[in-house]
């Protein structure tokens, strides 16, 4: 028997010959671990960068977005479960696109960046890395949209070729990860710190799920942790939950709950706190932390008004706003 142990993520799957890891797509073939979805995306779209969500990274730009089947988490509320909770062989559509094809297509479509997204791109790590390196050679940026459940060594290596990341912090509660995602909290926190240390632009998303992670004390602890470990200028996006997959028993997040968590995070000292999945909400926009001037007016994923100076400052008080503009 030639078993292998995958060291990409904290699961450390031991995989027998012919078997797949927990992610379904990393397979032991003849004693070698093979990334079976390399060059085989199942989802290919052009999105605005605001959909990732990244609000402080080239606002309004178009992002060529790809994903393959598979995921190393199994969240009961997954919005993209048809993609993430399947192996490549179960997908209705599999394109053949080597890194060069992805970069060529992104350039042809006049995209500014390539995003690795939708499922968790950790599980198609090698495809992300090779495509990102080539994208840089052609002047494109790379965006990694992830839940951050990855080991330190691969994360640090990936940061060499990634320009921005949105990390989904599902809850500031290890029990939540274990009960709802079959994961754990600490590796996710570590990944965020690594992204910050390595100079990758970082924004954090937290999906607020009624009764499961909307407890104010937990939200407060999360906001304080972000401020202390990632910095007060780290954008935090609170997203509204809608019922999906195996979590259809809960209602959508009340708007009032989102107001409460928004206030809590602001009170904790975070300067850029957003509310997502509520079309037209005031907190979709960016305001100057000094004089409250509206700097970027967003409606949904659309940038309606852009008032930052070329060097990323408030035009009224000259306050510098963190981001990649």
């Amino acid at each position: 028997m030639r078993d292998v142990t995958c060291e990409l993520c904290p699961r450390y799957c031991t995989i027998p010959e012919g078997g797949a890891g927990d992610c379904r797509v990393r397979v032991n073939i003849d004693g070698k671990l093979v990334a079976t979805t390399y060059g085989r995306p199942s989802s290919v779209h052009i999105d605005p960068v605001e959909k990732k969500p990244l609000y402080h990274f080239h606002p309004g730009s178009a992002v060529f977005s790809i994903a393959t089947a598979g995921c190393n988490l199994h969240c009961r509320n997954c919005q993209n479960w048809q993609l993430s909770q399947r192996g490549g062989e179960e997908m209705e559509r599999i394109y053949r696109a080597e890194p060069k094809d992805v970069v060529d297509a992104a350039l042809t479509e006049n995209c500014h960046s390539i995003a690795y997204t939708y499922s968790d791109p950790i599980i198609f790590y090698e495809y992300v890395y090779d495509t990102s390196a080539l994208a840089h050679d052609h002047g494109l940026k790379n965006i990694f949209v992830t839940a951050g459940y990855i080991n330190e060594k691969p994360m640090r290596r990936l940061c060499r070729v990634i320009d921005a990341t949105n990390i989904d912090l599902k809850a500031f509660d290890d029990g939540f990860y274990r009960r709802n995602c079959s994961g754990s909290l600490k590796p996710v926190l570590d990944a965020m710190v690594i992204a910050r240390e390595e100079g990758v632009w970082l924004e954090v998303t937290n999906l607020v799920i009624p009764t499961l992670n909307d407890d104010m004390a937990t939200v407060r602890r999360m906001a304080h942790w972000i401020r202390e470990n990632l910095g007060e200028e780290t954008p935090l996006h609170f997203s509204r939950f809608t019922p999906h997959y195996q979590m259809r028993n809960l209602p959508p997040t009340p708007v009032e709950s989102l107001h409460r968590v928004w206030n809590e995070a602001r009170d904790a000292g975070l300067k850029y706190v957003y509310v997502g999945n509520i079309f037209g909400h005031k907190s979709e926009s960016t305001y100057c932390p000094n004089d409250n001037t509206r700097l970027i007016h967003r409606v949904g994923f659309s940038v309606e008004e852009y008032n930052l100076t070329r060097d990323g400052r408030c035009p009224v008080c000259r306050q510098s706003v963190s981001g990649v503009w």
């Binding site: 078993d3 142990t5 060291e7 093979v34 990334a35 779209h45 999105d47 090698e126 691969p154 940038v303």
Partner: protein, 46 residues
């Protein structure tokens, strides 16, 4: 700007804009399998 707004609107309405047809490699050629990084043989104890 018009293009960006169009993209944003379309993304809101439809989730996103499918462009798989624009990937040149959608032509059905087969790719070789790619060996993964970050793994090692599993050493059994005993």
């Amino acid at each position: 700007m018009m293009r960006r707004r169009f993209l944003a609107l379309l993304a809101v309405v439809s989730g996103s804009l499918l462009t798989g047809k624009n990937i040149p490699a959608a032509r059905q050629r087969e790719l070789s399998l790619h060996e993964a990084d970050f793994y090692k043989p599993h050493d059994l104890a005993g």
